[in-house]
């Protein structure tokens, strides 16, 4: 057992966990942040993607201990109160989700994609970049549309800030 200190969604957290605990299990089981999902056991599906220090990471590939001292953001931490993150709003407005299970990981990955590519995103790039997130419901059509839509919204939001 080890004590780990990290910041999750802006709050300082100190928890005692088994050394073999994965970050995703720390989030889900210990911190009750169940929005981050587990869809596979081979780090393929991306349902567990969170941000560690601003970068999209599959939280099933990281031991909780490796996140010590890090700033972790989950799907629960991206909206500002009632105001949705532009990526969340774009997924809703473009019907970019159906069963909702892959959605948190999709949204967290997509925010990172837009952050890295800025306004230069096109369909092919989005499809290539989403390769690490599996969705079984949407055929990706509306997810791609959502990401491209959000890229525009995030640019506008940044300009306004």
């Amino acid at each position: 057992m080890s004590t780990i200190k990290l910041t999750v969604n802006g709050k300082a957290v100190s928890v005692e966990v088994e050394d073999r605990t994965l970050l995703v299990h720390l989030l889900r089981e210990t911190l009750n942040l169940t929005g981050t999902h587990v869809g596979c056991d081979t780090s393929q599906c991306g349902a567990c993607v969170v941000h560690i220090d601003g970068q999209a990471v599959k939280s099933c590939t990281v031991l909780a201990g490796q996140a010590a001292g890090a700033n972790v953001t989950t799907i629960e931490g991206i909206s500002k109160g009632d105001e949705l993150h532009p990526m969340q709003a774009a997924f809703r407005d473009n019907h970019g989700l159906q069963c909702g299970y892959c959605t948190p990981g999709m949204i967290m990955s997509s925010i990172d994609i837009v952050n890295r590519h800025g306004g230069k995103l096109d369909e092919e790039t989005v499809r290539h970049e989403l390769e690490g997130n599996i969705c079984r419901c949407t055929g990706y059509h509306n997810i791609v549309k959502s990401v491209l839509d959000a890229a525009g919204r995030m640019k506008v939001a940044q300009a306004a800030e």
Binding site: C40, E76, E123, I134, C135, R136, H141
Partner: protein
């Protein structure tokens, strides 16, 4: 408020919780005193259990109990059932072998549970499961259809000699043989319909809680049909009585058929919760999903089509072997029979059809309904034959189809189905226009100059949905009726709750069902809540599968709404001192036509519940229920065309264009309908290009993870161009047909037709991987 009624693409009410991480799936639920289950599974596909030693495991830290297959037999827990009886051509019933929830003596597929460890934590359960020592004696394995039916094959179940479950036929054999004898041309194909793994993104999970004071169980489970789960668990498995068992299916992360069935794991969780008298949670991991979720498809078929000299179809003859795996899953028997062979007429006038289906046991995971369930296999047979015929007869594939389309309705096919309505020419026209079919030869020629092989492929599918008229399916062997129920509760303040037996696991019922109600009353959808997925809240219902929720589930709501409105009109008329016949409902108000007198819905509701001033003899309250039993199947149909390019150097297929023209009747929410089509197309394309469950000769699943089984990813798929043509379904009050499975039913034939067109070789099996395509080009 018409903007939120039927036909409006309103954004989904349920989305906010999903996009903010507030969805509530089974694994998200925690109960006080929760324990965790981990199954010990057989590594062998066929073996005798010589001994199980649980002593070491029982002493491991945190272990609460270790339970084995023998204990489940000793406790007289019933075997798993198959709910659809199929009769063989010789008049005998299907040969069903026993399937205990955990194997006491023999394991018949790799991954079958033999014991379960219950512990305080997930890790402790997993660790202790490693300490269970099972001594197996390996038995010979039949890992596919060919191995199972050959002379001297290993015998799986004593009840099924030669591993044959049934040998079933449909149609007129003699008349069909005569049509072939008289034919001017005959086209034949050998078809493998590849085995698929459904892979809903949420793995299956169950939490069972037993209250010994009340002798009451609660089961949270990933189910598409919680009431059916409760019925089966109580009526057949001897674990809990129906009124002492609450089944809750909360947010469910996709199903695609795989979450219809009652699986051993939730049975064991329920049984174990009483044994250890603690709540028990089991959450499958992806590897367990690959090994234990019912797989789909897996047919070997020989199909022949006869034509007269004018290229009119005169006969269709099909012989199919279907692999049902090691045990018969809940609806497995119906999938390759009544859900498959009854659709072999496709969109065509085929006077003579005869099909024989032989279902067999193999040492593989059980096979059951997966998106489309039998209908993709039928559509693939018919549409591959049509394309092959066009090439053999040297006619345009679109024209050959058009020449043979059914154009008058109703149309009785030779294989049970009576198509009620359709316009197959309209959807084909729409798809051909969308893809510029006429311009294809020029595009192909241009691609050739760039060294690329370009092909175009058509698939005109039809499916039977809105499953299903209870009397009809009962006569065909179904063990249940397939109606749906609804209850409309108008609360005293005028908000509305709809309780439905349908279950939403991605389909968006919370929005579309609310649209129906909102549109009828002229109120916002925010005033309407949809309640589903809890047997304590909702009256008995049949659940969601077979594209039935709109056609059957919403029709039940429609009927209940009519009753509620009739009563509300009476109350309104009484309050307004007007004639009931003069009351109309508009914008949430009950108005007296031709006057300015009106009363708002909340006031009518309040009057119903205060009961201070109701018409004489009227009962208080405003709540009505309805059961809707469809009069016929519905028949969604459409035309899919895809244009692809093959790189002859690598065998890789790329999409140039994919167009879909569907006739689903009334569209409740076009945005959601299109989302359903996109997802179905992805699964159909996945089957054609990427997906395939592969077993080796020893019955090991070689494709048991996302590393090995190719799920369609964003960069494997194109964006789709959709269009709709509409003929209204006459069989239900909404005119809807259903849209959930169409894409998966129609897409795979379009893709294979396109690739075989591009490479000029008609022999190509699914999945058409670059390796297979390269070999088909280069020999």
């Amino acid at each position: 408020m018409g903007v939120e009624g039927i036909g409006a693409s309103v954004v989904r009410k349920e989305d906010r919780r999903f996009i903010t991480g507030r969805g509530r799936y089974v694994d998200d639920i925690k109960l006080v005193g929760l324990t965790h289950a981990h199954f010990v599974r057989s590594p062998h596909a066929h073996a005798k259990i010589k001994s199980i030693d649980i002593a070491a495991a029982e002493k491991m830290p945190g272990v609460v109990g270790v339970l084995t297959g023998q204990q489940i037999v000793d406790d007289k827990v019933g075997n798993l059932i198959c709910g659809w009886a199929i009769t063989s051509k010789d008049g005998t019933g299907m040969k069903m072998g026993a399937w205990p929830a955990m194997a006491p003596e023999i394991v018949r597929f790799a991954g079958q549970a033999v014991a379960v460890v219950i512990a305080e934590t997930k890790n402790q359960a997993r660790d202790a499961a490693e300490a269970v020592v099972v001594n197996y004696e390996e038995l010979p394995v039949a890992s596919d259809i060919r191995a199972a039916i050959k002379e001297g094959a290993p015998q799986l179940h004593p009840e099924a000699p030669g591993n044959v479950i049934y040998d079933w036929t449909i149609g007129e054999e003699a008349a069909t043989d005569a049509a072939f004898k008289a034919a001017a041309n005959v086209v034949s194909l050998d078809i493998t319909n590849n085995r698929l793994v459904p892979n809903a993104m949420e793995p299956r999970a169950a939490i069972a809680e037993y209250n010994d004071a009340e002798e009451h169980f609660t089961l949270y489970t990933t189910s598409q049909n919680p009431h059916v789960a409760r019925l089966v668990l109580s009526a057949f498995y001897n674990i809990a009585q129906e009124h002492k068992l609450r089944v809750v299916a909360p947010d469910v992360g996709g199903g695609f058929g795989s979450k219809i069935f009652i699986y051993p794991e939730e049975m064991v969780a329920l049984w174990a919760s009483k044994k250890v008298n603690r709540p028990v949670k089991w959450t499958g991991d992806r590897s367990e999903a690959f090994l234990t979720d019912a797989h789909g498809r897996d047919h070997l078929t020989k199909a022949e089509m006869a034509f007269d000299k004018d290229n009119k179809i005169t006969g269709l003859r099909v012989k199919t072997y279907a692999n049902l795996g090691a045990y018969m899953s809940l609806f497995s028997s119906s999938v390759p029979t009544y859900l498959y062979a009854t659709l072999l007429s496709g969109q065509y006038n085929i006077p003579n059809i005869f099909a024989e289906v032989i279902s067999v046991y193999t040492n593989t995971t059980p096979v059951d309904a997966y998106r489309g369930a039998g209908r993709p296999e039928a559509s693939f047979v018919v549409e591959r034959l049509m394309e092959t015929a066009a090439r053999q007869l040297k006619v345009d594939p679109a024209e050959l189809r058009r020449k043979n389309f059914i154009t008058t309705f109703p149309h009785q096919t030779p294989v049970i189905m009576a198509y009620d309505v359709g316009d197959f020419g309209a959807s084909l026209d729409s798809a051909m226009k969308a893809i510029d079919y006429a311009g294809f030869p020029a595009r192909k020629a241009k691609a050739k100059t760039e060294g690329k092989l370009r092909g175009i492929g058509i698939s005109c599918y039809i499916e039977a949905c809105g499953i299903a008229p209870s009397k009809a399916v009962g006569s065909l062997g179904a063990g249940v009726g397939l109606w749906e129920s609804a209850e409309v509760r108008v609360n005293p303040v005028g908000t509305i709750e709809i309780l439905t037996g349908s279950h939403s696991h991605g389909q968006g019922h919370e929005t579309t069902f609310a649209q129906l109600v909102a549109g009828r009353l002229g109120i916002p959808i925010s005033q309407v809540s949809i309640v589903h997925g809890d047997t304590d809240k909702v009256q008995f219902g049949m659940g969601t599968y077979g594209s039935r929720s709109a056609a059957v589930g919403m029709s039940a709501i429609f009927k209940a709404m009519e009753k509620v409105e009739a009563k509300a009109k009476k109350i309104a008329a009484h309050q307004l001192e007007a004639s009931e016949a003069d009351i109309v409902i508009e914008n949430g108000e009950f108005k007296v036509t031709g006057t300015d007198k009106s009363i708002a819905l909340p006031m009518v509701a309040l009057a119903a519940y205060t009961a201070h001033n109701l018409p004489d003899g009227m009962e208080p309250g405003l709540k009505e229920g309805a059961f809707y039993d469809p009069t016929n199947f519905t028949f969604p149909a459409g035309a899919y065309i895809c244009e692809i390019e093959v790189d002859s150097g690598t065998g890789k297929t790329s999409f140039v264009n994919f167009v879909a023209a569907d006739d689903f009747g009334t569209l409740i929410n076009p945005m959601i309908v299109e989302g359903q089509v996109h997802g179905g197309l992805a699964q159909g394309i996945g089957q054609a290009l990427l997906e395939g469950a592969v077993y080796d000769g020893t019955g090991q699943l070689m494709t048991a993870s996302f590393m090995d089984y190719t799920m369609p990813r964003a960069d494997d798929l194109p964006s789709f161009k959709l269009s709709h043509t509409t003929t209204l379904c006459p069989g239900n009050p909404l005119g809807v047909k259903g849209c959930g499975e169409a894409g998966a039913i129609g897409a795979s034939a379009a893709v294979i037709n396109a690739i075989t067109d591009a490479i000029g070789n008609n022999k190509l099996e699914m999945p058409a991987t670059p390796d297979r395509v390269w070999h088909a080009i280069h020999g």
